[in-house]
Amino acid sequence: MHTLLDALVVLLVFTNLRILGLSRINASIRTVAAQGVLLGLVAAIANAGHLSPRIILIAVVGIAVKGVAFPLMLFRALRAVKIRSEVEPFVGYIPSVLAGVAAFLISLAVAARLPLPVRPASDLLVPTALSTLFVGLFLIVSRKKALSQALGFLVFENGIYAFGVGIAYEAPTMIELGILLDVFVAVFVMGIIVFHIAREFDSIDTTRLAALKE
């Protein structure tokens, strides 16, 4: 079981690096979708020792929302705005990937200093969660397009979700579902705003959003 889990977690790290290196938004959305499915599987397998209806529900809803619903919404927004389908980064693709690798190494060092009271199912889980979080933040600040920034937010959320499912987290199911619902609506609202930005500016380049500053 552990080898399978470790393999999935390593795949998560690869999806992070892949998103950083991709130039096409279509492919980025698909990679984030794959990451969502992986996360759902990790949630199920990490808690396989005590598989309860709660865990299954969280995993299934997670896959449905992160692996299917988000990508569909983002693809719709992408089609609606008819933009050139490049990510347009401030930071180049190769430096981005290197930043992702650095984030993972730093996360390993940080996680080594944070001993969990209860040992997680995989030792790689916490560093991976942290690095996913960093990669998400990096995507938000280093990409020009609103849609790419929304994708970055999704990756950031995935990192937090990975941390949540990795630790033996015993919150009531209602709360966890509420969290998923909130994130769902957040992405939904972002999709709408992306659509409006596209209509207003004929592009979703956020460097055009520069009227408000000191």
Binding site: L114, L116, P117, V118, L133, L137, I140, A146, Q149, F153, F156, E157, I160, F163, G164, I167, A168, Y169, E170, A171, P172, I175, G178, I179, L181, D182, V185, A186, V189, M190, I193, H196, I197, E200, F201, T206, L209, A210, A211, L212, E214
Partner: protein, 467 residues
């Protein structure tokens, strides 16, 4: 149309009525104890309810004045439309319910859901005027606050880890349970949780240097929404910080967290002072003033003791005064069609009631006697002096003086002078009465603090380990 506005008013009045009833009736917990009105939540519920009632009355007049069709933007001249009124009122009501949920949440997980929901409810409100500047403000607001709230979620997970070590607690996020078992919490993880929650909710609360969304959102939103954002929403984020502080205090690391409150508080006041001085847009001026006052709240909480009571009182005062000023800014904006303070002159002549209240509001917000803000700012100063923290006290006083000069220079210049264009038109009563009522309340608190309110604020401060 009439029905929708009536619904808004009736809901606001009902909410206010029920909130008032909590003074006299014992409340019961709901949802298995997850919803619980405690000493800390009580004053904030009062503020929210009162402000929303004032804002609802103002909003009815505002919606009547807003022409429904496309019209020209006064800054750049392009044409734009407003969002449908149904969306506006619907989001206002949803906003009210989510903020109420924040205040009543006893479980930190539920509180997180509610805070995130307030962001989503208010984003369409900021984007009411559909043009590119409000769109930019909304996008910034949505993205920055969502990331902030995401960090707060991570803080909640850290808290669950901190609690999971204790026997059988199972990582519950109920504030009551966490406080009861505080001695068993894993302290390093609790400290991590505190930092993430402070940064997360601090973003939403507008603490420097995480406040960058705030001036944009406040200046581009309709004034009535700005009033609610500043007076009610920032407080809700503050409640989130108060909850984690409760847990930290119970676990014996109150002084650790208070150090951060003092630091972020002073930083916010200093940064607001710097941006206030050079500010030409009067709605942004008010927004930076909110950064300042939320900084004062954090500072008061960080000092503890009598300053904690001062902070609670200041939360009430600031909400009332700031909401009043934003509503008045809406009146000025409607009359002058510019947000640039240097193009506004003679408010006292052109719209006399608004002008007079604007000046009163200036004194109320800068903490001049006899307004309530004076009392609360003085209490926080006393807290600093009593603890012998003279450097903090001196810096605090100096910054307040700078801010007074900065705000007074701009705001008095706007009020005085000859009025341009047409002579005074009769002002809409619905645009005057809500700010007038708020002004009288701040004045009342300064002159005579009603004993029930005094007692409620003392209970809240006591729950936070202050006096």
């Amino acid at each position: 149309m009439f029905l929708r506005r009536a619904l808004l008013l009736v809901t606001a009045a009902t909410h206010a009525g029920l909130a008032l009833a909590t003074w006299f009736v014992r409340t019961h917990d709901a949802w298995g104890g997850a919803l619980h009105l405690d000493e800390i939540g009580h004053p904030f519920l009062m503020i929210l309810s009162g402000l929303f009632l004032a804002a609802a009355v103002y909003a009815v007049g505002y919606l009547r004045r807003e022409s429904p069709g496309p019209r020209a933007d006064f800054l750049e001249g392009f044409r734009f439309t407003n969002a449908p009124e149904a969306v506006f009122i619907g989001c206002l009501l949803f906003f009210l319910s989510t903020m109420t949920l924040v205040i009543l949440s006893e479980n930190l997980g539920l509180l997180w859901i509610a805070v995130e929901a307030t962001t989503l409810a208010s984003a369409p409100l900021i984007y009411f005027h559909r043009h590119h500047r409000s769109l930019e403000a909304t996008w910034k607001y949505l993205l920055i606050c969502s990331v902030g709230i995401g960090l707060a979620l991570l803080g909640n997970f850290f808290l669950a880890v901190a609690a999971s070590g204790s026997s059988g607690a199972g990582g519950s996020l109920s504030v009551r349970i966490l406080c009861e078992r505080a001695s068993q919490l894993h302290i390093p993880w609790l400290k991590g949780a505190f930092l993430f929650l402070l940064v997360g909710y601090g973003t939403k609360m507008g603490l420097a240097p995480l406040h960058t969304w705030l001036p944009d959102a406040h200046s581009e939103a309709p004034s009535v929404v700005s009033a609610l954002l500043s007076g009610a929403l920032l407080n809700c984020a503050f409640v989130g910080i108060l909850r984690i502080f409760q847990v930290c205090a119970a676990a014996g690391i109150a002084s650790y967290s208070q150090g951060f409150f003092v630091l972020f508080g002073l930083l916010s006041i200093a940064l607001a002072a710097a941006f206030l001085l050079a500010q030409r847009d009067y709605k942004r001026l008010l927004a930076y003033s909110s950064v300042e006052h939320l900084g004062i709240l954090a500072l008061g909480l960080g000092l503890g003791g009598v300053a904690a009571f001062g902070a609670m009182l200041h939360a009430v005062n600031h909400s009332l005064a700031k909401a009043m000023l934003f509503l008045l800014a809406g009146n000025i904006l409607a009359a002058y069609r510019t947000k640039n303070a240097s193009e506004v002159q003679g408010v006292l002549r052109k719209i006399p009631v608004t002008g007079a209240l604007w000046l009163a509001g200036l004194f109320a917000i800068t903490g001049t006697p006899p307004f309530g803000t004076f009392v609360s700012e003085l209490l926080i100063l006393r807290g600093a002096v009593e603890q012998g923290r003279f450097f903090v006290a001196g810096l605090y006083l100096a910054l307040l003086a700078v801010i007074f000069v900065g705000m007074a220079a701009t705001m008095t210049r706007m009020a005085q002078g000859p009025a341009p264009g047409a002579p005074a038109t009769r002002e809409d009563r619905l645009a005057i009465l809500p700010p007038l009522a708020l002004c009288l309340l701040v004045l009342l608190i300064g002159v005579y603090l009603p004993p029930p309110l005094d007692a409620a604020l003392h209970r809240a401060a006591a729950a936070l380990g202050g006096g």
